[in-house]
Every structure is written in structure tokens, then in C-alpha cells.
């Protein structure tokens, strides 16, 4: 019964109270915050990392860092927003590190960052035939995933926060440690690159429409 009561109670305890209790030395109170916000942080982490393994590592590290910095939080904002930002910052660092590692390896034949070495014709050829619509959509998903990976860490963060999580430009700017104008430009650049990477699919779709196969 104690367990049941505590889980019911946990659901009613506001974040600010759980933070206060954690700071007072009640480590178990932090469990409430972890359990409450993990899913949301995971969604961000997955979109930033593109795979579950990295996403889970980002989530764990974000909550560990948040615990260590909890005194700095001191009720200044919503805990969910705060830990989300910590996760975003950590995810950017990881992405940057990965870019550095990748560039050191200099893998031959890998797509360039702006996607300019994609063969649009091949994409259109794949796109038009009617029985392959399903395959095309999975190709589109793969292309989008690749295009997201090719974004710079800042661009990926900006587009994930802006589009998927509806964050305000000011919040993105705070995460990127840039001005709001720069943050806005980063979002624009990200959309522009994605649009260019997906252009062949859009053209294929228009062609398919014109051919009456879609």
C-alpha cells in the first residue's frame, strides 16, 4: 500500500517540490523528476541522435548533469524545459564530436555536407514508377535521415527544437548560445538544406502527379 500511495503521491507532487526535496538531500525525490520527464527528453534525444542507443545515453547523461547542476536551477524555470535544454546541449556536443571524428576518418564516397553529390536523376528514376510507392517512401525517410545527419549540429538542434518541439526562437538561441537573429538563420538554413536534399522526391511526386500515377 505504501508503494501505491507513493506512486499516486508522486503524480501529484509538483516539479518545484521535487526539486526542493532533492536539494534537501532526499535523493529519491529526483526519481519523480526522472520518471516524469524521461519520455519527453528521449523524443528530443532520438531526433537529435537518430538512433535509440545514443538517445538513451543522452537521456541518462542529461539527468545526471541536471542532478549535479540542480542548485543552479533553483526554480528559475520549468524543470522539464531545463532538463530538455541540458539534453539538447549535450546532444549538440556529441554531434560535434562525431563530426570531428568523421572528418578525421575522411570516409571516401560519403555524401558532402550540403548533399550536392546526390544524383537527383537516380532519385527521380526511383521515384516515378507506381508499384514502388512504398519503397519510395522508405527511401524518402532514409534520405531525410541522411539529410538530417548532414546538417551541422547547430542546424539539427535548431530544426528539431523548432519544428518537432515547437520551441521559441529565444529558447533555441539560448541553447545555441547565439543571438535570436542567428538562431532564426540557423533554422532557415536547416530547412533550406532539407528542402534541397528532398527536392528530387518533390519533383518525382510532381512528375508522378502529372503522369497520373499518384
Amino acid at each position: 500500500m505504501t508503494q501505491m500511495t507513493s506512486s499516486v503521491e508522486s503524480a501529484l507532487i509538483p516539479d518545484a517540490v521535487a526539486v526542493e526535496r532533492t536539494l534537501a538531500g532526499d535523493r529519491d525525490a529526483y526519481r519523480i523528476l526522472v520518471e516524469r520527464h524521461s519520455q519527453n527528453v528521449y523524443r528530443l534525444a532520438y531526433r537529435m541522435a537518430g538512433n535509440s542507443h545514443d538517445a538513451e545515453e543522452i537521456v541518462q547523461e542529461a539527468f545526471l548533469r541536471a542532478y549535479q547542476k540542480l542548485k543552479q536551477f533553483a526554480g528559475q524555470a520549468n524543470f522539464g524545459t531545463w532538463v530538455y535544454r541540458i539534453a539538447a546541449n549535450y546532444a549538440i556536443d556529441r554531434l560535434r564530436q562525431r563530426k570531428v571524428d568523421d572528418s578525421r576518418r575522411e570516409q571516401p564516397g560519403r555524401d558532402s555536407e550540403d548533399g550536392s553529390d546526390i544524383d537527383p536523376l537516380a532519385q527521380v528514376r526511383d521515384a516515378a514508377p507506381s508499384p514502388e510507392r512504398l519503397a519510395r517512401s522508405s527511401q524518402l525517410a532514409r534520405r531525410l535521415e541522411q539529410a538530417l545527419q548532414d546538417l551541422t549540429p547547430a542546424e539539427r538542434t535548431a530544426i528539431v527544437m523548432r519544428h518537432w518541439d515547437g520551441c521559441a526562437i529565444e529558447e533555441i538561441a539560448a541553447t545555441l548560445k547565439s543571438s535570436t537573429t542567428a538562431a532564426k538563420n540557423t533554422v532557415f538554413r536547416a530547412v533550406q538544406k532539407l528542402r534541397m536534399a528532398l527536392e528530387p522526391f518533390a519533383e518525382g511526386r510532381q512528375a508522378a502527379k502529372a503522369m497520373g500515377t499518384e
Binding site: 503521491e9 507532487i13 517540490v17 526522472v34 531526433r47 538513451e56 532557415f188 533550406q192
Partner: protein, 266 residues
């Protein structure tokens, strides 16, 4: 123009009408906007795998052992200004401890020193905790029944209520820790719940909207904390009566069991 279209799609308010008017007359820009929309549609279609309902618990299991202990140094916690209000509670606990040590055992059949010591300590604590619970009950009743005056402005000032909550909070922490040390899980558990309620109030802004004030009252009601406090008070009263009768079975167990049963009924 692409930047403006992205901003337009993003819901940017500046120049919205102008861009809208332009789109109506420019098929090229409409096509460009469609492409931008296609990017966002593709993004929306990207799934995020569900990590599972118990994901939060899993994360906790993975990180909890890596969290360092966060223990305030005892002199910091004792001499912190807010702690000073609970000197009375602290004094009661010290008195219970010292009296338990110093009061000599009464001679009599079946009485040994250990029982006497435990009884004297417990009696003092029971009175002190009972007094704390009475004050808490009064506070909760007043808060539950308070009706914000709509003519006094749009916000309700709860600064005085918060100060009372803070005072009770400090006492409550000491009594909860003592109850835990004494092995009285039922009292400790109710004091723990009371502490959360008091923290909730103490941490609210000084001024709240009437709607938020009402939601605070609703939270109090939904937690049933007033009822739980009364149950514990009743238990303490019975414990006091039992203490006056020597050679009873261990009282704590009886009371704990009774309270658990009453709690289950609740």
C-alpha cells in the same frame, strides 16, 4: 524569398498579409511553399520509437546508483535561518532523549528500565507531535475553507499563509526524522505527506490567481491529507491513554496496525 516563406510557414506574424497576398498571385512561390511544406510533412512522418511505458523507471534504475549523495552539512541545516523557528520542536526532541536517559526506572513488578525509558521518551514525543499535528490541522482547515475576496483585486496574497507553512515545515521535518528513527513508519509516512503539502504551499508565489488558489485547495482535498492528519492524531491520543496503563504490549505496533487499517479503509 525562401526565408520569408519558411517564416510564413512557421507562423511568423510580420508581413504575413503581404506574403499571403503575394502567394495568391505567384504560382512559383506557391510551388516553393509546397516544397517547404513537403519537408515538414516528411519530418512529421518520421517515427520516434516508443521507449516503453516504464522508460522513466528504467532511466532511474540506470542512473540512480551514479547520483552522488546530496547531504547538507548538519551545521548548515541547523543554523539556517528558517530552521531557527523549529527550536521548540528540537527542544522537545532533545528533552525526550535526555529524559529518557535520566529518569530513573520506577520500581515495580514487570517493569524494567528499557520499558520506562521508551515510555518516557515516547510520551514527550507523542505530546509534541500531537501539538504539531493540531497546529497543522488548524492550518489546513483554514486554508481549505478560505474564500478569496474577489473585490480585493485579481490576485490573492498568500504570503502570510506561506510563512505559516514554512514554520510548520521546519517542525515537520524534525518530527518526521524522529518518527523514522523511532521506527514509527505510519506517523513518519503521514508526516512525509504533510511535508509535501506544506512544501507545495511554501513554494507557491506570494500572490496567486483565484483559480490557482482554488486548485491548491482542490489538491489538498484530493490528497486527503486533513483526514490522514486526523487519523494520526487519534492514534496518538489512544497511544497516550495506553501509556498511562503499565504492562501493555508494545504500543507502537498496535497503533501502527490500527492506523494502517484505518488508512486502508480510507
Amino acid at each position: 524569398m525562401e526565408e520569408q516563406l519558411i517564416a510564413f510557414h512557421d507562423g511568423e506574424r510580420t508581413d504575413r498579409e503581404r506574403v499571403s497576398a503575394h502567394l495568391a498571385s505567384c504560382p512559383e512561390c506557391r510551388a516553393a511553399l509546397e516544397k517547404i511544406e513537403a519537408v515538414f510533412a516528411a519530418m512529421d512522418a518520421m517515427p520516434v520509437p516508443d521507449p516503453g511505458e516504464n522508460y522513466g523507471q528504467r532511466v532511474w534504475a540506470q542512473i540512480s546508483s551514479r547520483l552522488p549523495e546530496r547531504q547538507p552539512r548538519w551545521w548548515e541545516s541547523f543554523f539556517a535561518p528558517r530552521r531557527l523557528v523549529s527550536v521548540g520542536a528540537f527542544a522537545a526532541i532533545v528533552a525526550a532523549f535526555l529524559l529518557g536517559r535520566l529518569v530513573p526506572p520506577e520500581p515495580g513488578p514487570g517493569n524494567d528500565t528499557k520499558i520506562d525509558t521508551a515510555q518516557v521518551r515516547e510520551r514527550i514525543l507523542v505530546v509534541a507531535v500531537g501539538d504539531h499535528l493540531s497546529k497543522s490541522e488548524m492550518f489546513l482547515v483554514e486554508l481549505s475553507n478560505a474564500q478569496p475576496n474577489p473585490s480585493s483585486g485579481t490576485l490573492v496574497n498568500i504570503a502570510a499563509t506561506q510563512r505559516r507553512a514554512e514554520d510548520l515545515l521546519e517542525e515537520n521535518r524534525l518530527y518526521r526524522q524522529t518518527a523514522l528513527q523511532e521506527g514509527d513508519q505510519v506517523t513518519a509516512s503521514t508526516l512525509d505527506e504533510l511535508e509535501r503539502v506544506l512544501l507545495d504551499i511554501a513554494n507557491s508565489p506570494d500572490e496567486v490567481t483565484p483559480a490557482r488558489f482554488e486548485s491548491m485547495q482542490q489538491r489538498l482535498a484530493s490528497r486527503g491529507i486533513l483526514f490522514k492528519v486526523r487519523v494520526i492524531q487519534q492514534g496518538l491520543r489512544e497511544r497516550t491513554k495506553l501509556q498511562q496503563k503499565p504492562a501493555q504490549k508494545p504500543m507502537q505496533q498496535n497503533i501502527s496496525r490500527r492506523n494502517t487499517q484505518e488508512g486502508n479503509k480510507a
